[in-house]
């Protein structure tokens, strides 16, 4: 059977013949557009769908008749798909895809908002944007931690554990000291503790990194759960009542409609997350450290030959990643909630998904995290208006999107070449 020409394991679909990737995606988009036009259009009611620029039904709003909106946006998505099918220059692929997908989502929203119970036919955009960023925060920190680790060649499946440990130690030491800053520092140290274990075992003892990550997640769940029951549950006032960062309002910027109240009246974690994306992006692609990090992640032997200390750099980056994720965990306990058992609840794995979906780049990870945060927020909103769409299916969206992404159905994703391979000198 080795004589057959069919390759046994297709490495990745190669663009060939009529059905290029653009056309395939276009076909899918046409299907979505048709679905939106016909189904959403039929199900939408004649009510006005109002998208208010505030936190409630009052104030200025963008309004559109539900049926009209659903059909018009559906047709736009259809048109975008058709344009792709007709053969589109490659440089227009991303913009047209974006237009098509956004139109599809808008068509969906027109249907949902117009079909909501009377009196609830509005979507407060400020709430949605704010919620999106809030829900995306741990994902942004987590996926940045992933970027730092995996760009230097260490697979970080332990993001969940790092977030959890950060949340826990932030809450614990913040409560004991009574200072948010001590809490923040402790959170960074807590996250680094987990990633130090990851670094030592995967770099020094060459333990499989995925295995180690999984085990460390369980370890973090165990340790924090154990200490939570022993300390925090018995004496919550002393051990689990951390002070919280207040919201900082940035003058001028906070007056921008919708974005202002949502983005520039946030707490330190929001600003820190956006700043970190920028810093890590610049550092990774514009500095000596970044070049070395990327080379260590792609071809450690070559980097070593050129005098880069491969293992040292990996240790440093992995531990830094832990600190970043730890701070992300504290964005829960030092700003929103008190610590509860296993409070991260899978966010670490969505962060991993965001990292992969964002193709191992800081900005990509940010966008993916925001997309996932939006899906999460939308699920909450649809639940509130008694939508027929079950929230659980929207909650699946990040995971489904990632599977499609790694399967090469939506573009192709490629990890750093040496990701997960321990480097053994010699």
């Amino acid at each position: 059977m080795s004589t057959t020409a069919v390759p046994d394991v297709a490495v990745a679909p190669v663009d060939e013949g009529f059905w290029t990737r653009t056309r395939k995606v276009g076909l899918v988009l046409v299907g979505l557009g048709l679905l939106a036009t016909v189904l959403f259009g039929a199900l939408a009611t004649g009510e006005q769908a109002r998208f208010t620029l505030s936190e409630d039904a009052a104030g200025a709003a963008l309004e559109v008749n539900g049926t009209v909106g659903a059909i018009v946006f559906g047709l736009i998505a259809l048109a975008a798909g058709a344009a792709m099918l007709a053969g589109l220059p490659k440089r227009l692929f991303i913009p047209v895809l974006a237009v098509g997908l956004v139109a599809f989502v808008l068509s969906f929203l027109c249907w949902q908002v117009s079909a909501a119970p009377t009196g609830q036919n509005f979507m407060p955009l400020v709430n949605i944007v704010r919620g999106t960023f809030l829900l995306a925060l741990p994902l942004i920190f987590g996926s940045l931690a992933g970027v730092l680790c995996e760009r230097s060649g260490v697979v970080n499946v332990a993001i969940e554990g790092q977030l959890l440990m950060g949340a826990f130690s932030g809450a614990l030491f913040g409560s004991i000291s009574g200072s948010v800053w001590v809490g923040l520092l402790a959170a960074a140290v807590g996250g680094s503790f987990i990633s130090l274990l990851l670094a030592v075992f995967s770099i020094r003892y060459l333990v499989d990194q995925v295995v180690m990550g999984i085990v460390l997640n369980l370890l973090a769940v165990g340790i924090t759960g154990f200490l939570y029951e022993r300390l925090m549950q018995t004496d919550a006032a002393r051990y689990n009542s951390a002070p919280r960062f207040s919201n900082w309002e940035i003058p001028l910027l906070s007056d921008i409609p919708v974005l202002g109240p949502a983005l520039f009246r946030g707490n330190i974690f929001l600003y820190l997350a956006l700043l970190l994306v920028l810093v890590i992006h610049i550092a990774l692609f514009r500095t000596r450290w970044g070049l070395r990090t990327r080379s260590v992640g792609e071809h450690p032997t070559a980097a070593d030959t050129l005098g880069v200390r491969v293992l040292g750099l990996r240790y440093r980056n992995v531990i830094m990643a832990g600190a970043v994720a730890g701070i992300g965990g504290a964005s829960y306990t030092l700003a929103l909630f008190s610590f509860t058992k296993n409070m991260i609840g899978g966010k670490g794995f969505i962060a991993l998904a965001a990292l992969i979906f964002g193709r191992w780049s800081p900005t990509g990870a940010l966008l993916a995290a925001l997309f996932f945060g939006f899906a999460d927020q939308l699920a909450t909103y649809l639940g509130a208006i008694n939508s027929v769409i079950p929230g659980q299916f929207l909650a699946m969206l990040p995971y489904l999107a990632t599977i499609l992404a790694v399967a090469g159905l939506v573009g192709r994703v490629r990890a750093p070449a040496a990701d997960g391979k321990p480097y053994i000198k010699g």
Partner: protein, 441 residues
């Protein structure tokens, strides 16, 4: 990591003896070392001497035992630092060290004694049933872990890392429960159908990452992680649907499985051990046979060792990957089905599968990805969980400590070099570890 890496490393060199097997598990390099060790003529050492030498050498058994000891030491430290009263005695340790030592010893020894009494034997037992009760509890927890452990181990041997046992068990439990309360079938047949439904549920959930891996090269680790969560959300959605949700309840719980689809109990109604453990032993035997004696098992190990070489040799890597994942999924689905068909629960709840999938990963690693090793590892983990329950209710030590112990044991197992260094084991065999499975995304 020693086990998974060493294991798929040499399909054609299936260890002939237990001793060899142990050495392979610790790293392939040591095989080479053992081979180059000058043997040949000369006086043969006595059996007793060999035993003593090997006892402190870094072999599988010693490393496992010492890992357990290390984990328990860390666990003891956690217990002490989280107990304010005991911790208070440390504030004057220089003045009266006996206080601190006594308080710590009492705390730790009582907790671990309860761990033992809850899982193996309670000397205070006064009837046959209560004497058997700890063992029964241990077996109840062990049975599903054997299945998920085998699922992960089987995939490992084929070079795939199945993190999706959790999701596969979830789909298994869903289909088993649906078959258990929706189908009106006679006893016996009903049980059979429900168990098979569980296996099919898991197999479907294993098929997806398998076919994606085979067709597009999408990494199974990523896909199985994602599928775990999709399965959980599907479960939470399904439970509250009409016809599934218990009509008498408003919270998220399904109708209970019919009595005709329940696994029979082994030791009478008073004890929880059920026939799942017998199925687990059979499954272990079947997987061992599949891996070591069948053509498919050979292909599986060959693909795990080197897919390119296997393809060159005329094996279909695509087919093997899909089959591995389907089998692994079916095993995990079997394990999941026991969570509603056994005595743990009778109805679906969002947390019905607990952690059996993730624990299965630990069990597979602890069992050195060998079927019978997995069964023994599952027994240890089952015992820890059974004992953990008693430790929680009698000593007030949170059940989470068991999770910590389990994770620590595996961490230490995974790095035998560390254990070796801590205990100054004879430098003999656990040389540098191969990392053939470490291939990243």
């Amino acid at each position: 990591m020693s086990d998974p890496n060493a294991q798929p490393g040499s399909p054609d060199k299936e260890p002939a003896s237990e001793d060899q097997a142990a050495r392979t598990a610790l790293g392939s390099t040591e095989r080479a070392e053992a081979a180059t060790t000058p043997g040949g003529p000369g006086p043969r050492p006595t059996l007793g001497r060999l035993f003593l030498e090997n006892l402190w050498a870094a072999n599988t058994f010693t490393v496992t035992l010492l890992s357990l000891v290390l984990a328990m030491i860390v666990g003891a430290i956690l217990m002490i630092i989280s107990d304010p009263e005991v911790l208070a005695t440390y504030s004057y340790i220089t003045a009266r060290p006996s206080d601190a030592i006594n308080a710590s010893w009492t705390l730790v020894s009582e907790a671990y004694a309860n761990l033992f009494k809850g899982s193996v034997f309670d000397p205070a037992a006064n009837s046959f049933n209560s004497a058997l009760s700890p063992i029964s509890e241990t077996l109840t927890y062990t049975a599903p872990l054997v299945f998920t452990g085998l699922s992960v181990a089987l995939a490992f041997r084929g070079g795939l890392f199945n993190i999706g046992a959790q999701g596969q068990a979830t789909m298994g439990v869903i289909l088993a429960a649906l078959a258990g309360f929706l189908l009106p079938l006679p006893p016996g047949l009903h049980l059979l159908v429900a168990v098979l439904a569980g296996a099919i549920g898991g197999a479907i959930w294993g098929f997806i990452p398998g076919i994606l891996k085979a067709r597009t090269g999408a990494h199974e680790v990523i896909n199985t992680i994602m599928l775990n969560y999709i399965a959980v959300y599907f479960l939470t959605w399904l439970i509250v649907q009409n016809g599934v949700q218990d009509p008498n309840r408003t919270d998220a719980i399904s109708r209970p499985v019919d009595a005709s689809a329940q696994l029979p109990r082994l030791f009478g109604d008073g004890l929880r051990a059920h026939a799942g453990i017998i199925l687990a032993v059979l499954a272990t035997w079947a997987v061992a046979w599949l891996l070591n004696r069948s053509t498919l098992g050979f292909e599986l190990r060959a693909v795990g060792a080197n897919p390119d070489a296997a393809r060159t040799a005329g094996m279909s890597v695509t087919r093997t990957y899909v089959l591995i994942m389907v089998f692994a999924g079916a095993l995990a689905g079997f394990g999941g089905s026991q969570m509603v068909l056994g005595t743990t629960a009778a109805a679906l709840t969002p947390l019905v599968v607990a952690q059996i999938g993730f624990d299965g990963i630990l069990v597979a690693l602890l069992g050195r990805v060998k079927p019978w090793g997995v069964a023994l590892a599952a027994l240890l983990f089952g015992a820890l969980q059974a004992g953990g329950n008693r430790m929680q209710s009698y000593s007030g030590i949170s059940l989470e400590l068991v999770t910590v112990l389990q994770a620590l044991i595996v961490i230490f197992i995974a790095a035998p070099a560390l254990v070796k260094a801590i205990f100054q084991l004879r430098a003999a065999r656990a040389a540098r570890l191969q990392t053939s499975l470490a291939k990243g995304w």
